[in-house]
Symmetry: C2
Subunit: 156 residues, 2 copies
């Protein structure tokens, strides 16, 4: 969660919802309920989510899809607009390089949001996605996909 005050981006909150235990409906409910709580608490104006490229195996793609579906349901339940950005777009927006690694993303997120310590990798990814949206996003067409390779469903 970040705030945009004028041209300045301000850190608000970040975290990770873990739902690895229990049956599928219970796990999806956990994502739905916790994300709803966050939205109700902070009342954001927009939501952004990382778009995935699906060269991962079908079982992981199904699970990712279900989790993603629950997360998006939480946002639409609160009438939030959801923007989707690829990892490539996010890295371009945050680091200026679509090939940037996790460390570089974490470092730039810390610098842009003036954080004293590094958020976890997943929280940094989410903040990076928010920063990308706050910067107006990037048209994928601008960069094209040539020269990028995919790893675990993402362009790297």
């Amino acid at each position: 969660m970040i705030d945009k005050a004028g041209g300045k981006l301000v850190y608000v909150s970040s975290g990770c919802i873990k739902s690895s235990e229990g049956d599928l409906p219970i796990r999806l409910k956990l994502i739905l309920d916790n994300l709803s709580k966050v939205i109700t608490e902070y009342r954001p104006q927009f939501a952004a989510i990382e778009q995935v490229f699906v060269n991962i195996n079908p079982k992981s793609a199904l699970q990712l899809g279900q989790a993603r579906g629950a997360a998006i349901c939480a946002t639409v339940l609160h009438n939030l607009d959801v923007a989707e950005y690829t990892a490539l777009q996010i890295k371009q927006a945050v680091v200026g390089n679509g090939h940037a690694n996790k460390d570089q993303v974490q470092q730039m997120v810390m610098r842009i949001l003036k954080l004293e310590s590094s958020p976890t990798a997943d929280a940094a990814d989410a903040l990076a996605c928010a920063i990308c949206h706050a910067h107006g996003g990037f048209g994928l067409g601008k960069f094209g996909l040539a020269g990028y390779r995919m790893k675990r469903g993402r362009l790297v």
Copy 2:
């Protein structure tokens, strides 16, 4: 939607939510809202959903996962218990043969629920899933997977 009165199964309603147009959040919202409406109208005690085997391509698996996530979110929002059954279990429960084809499923659904005309294939699948749950479901271990082949992510 079916009702179980004593040992008798009674047809209540059936249908299909189509969400092929628009952006992903809008499509998921359509599933969530429409299924919520159905649940609010009929107040069922249980929900059942077909479990998928994911030998389909990753892109379809992701999309199926997202739609499935939204459908399950609708049920958990209403505190409904959701049971999952494989196509194999459903066909065993309805036709008595895990290898049954679509036509046989539609015919048996019509006969069990005393319908005068055949529901669409998707509606028949959903009714068959409900019938399977009403019959107490089947443990997959009972039948095993040997001898079954998969087609578009389902055991046939």
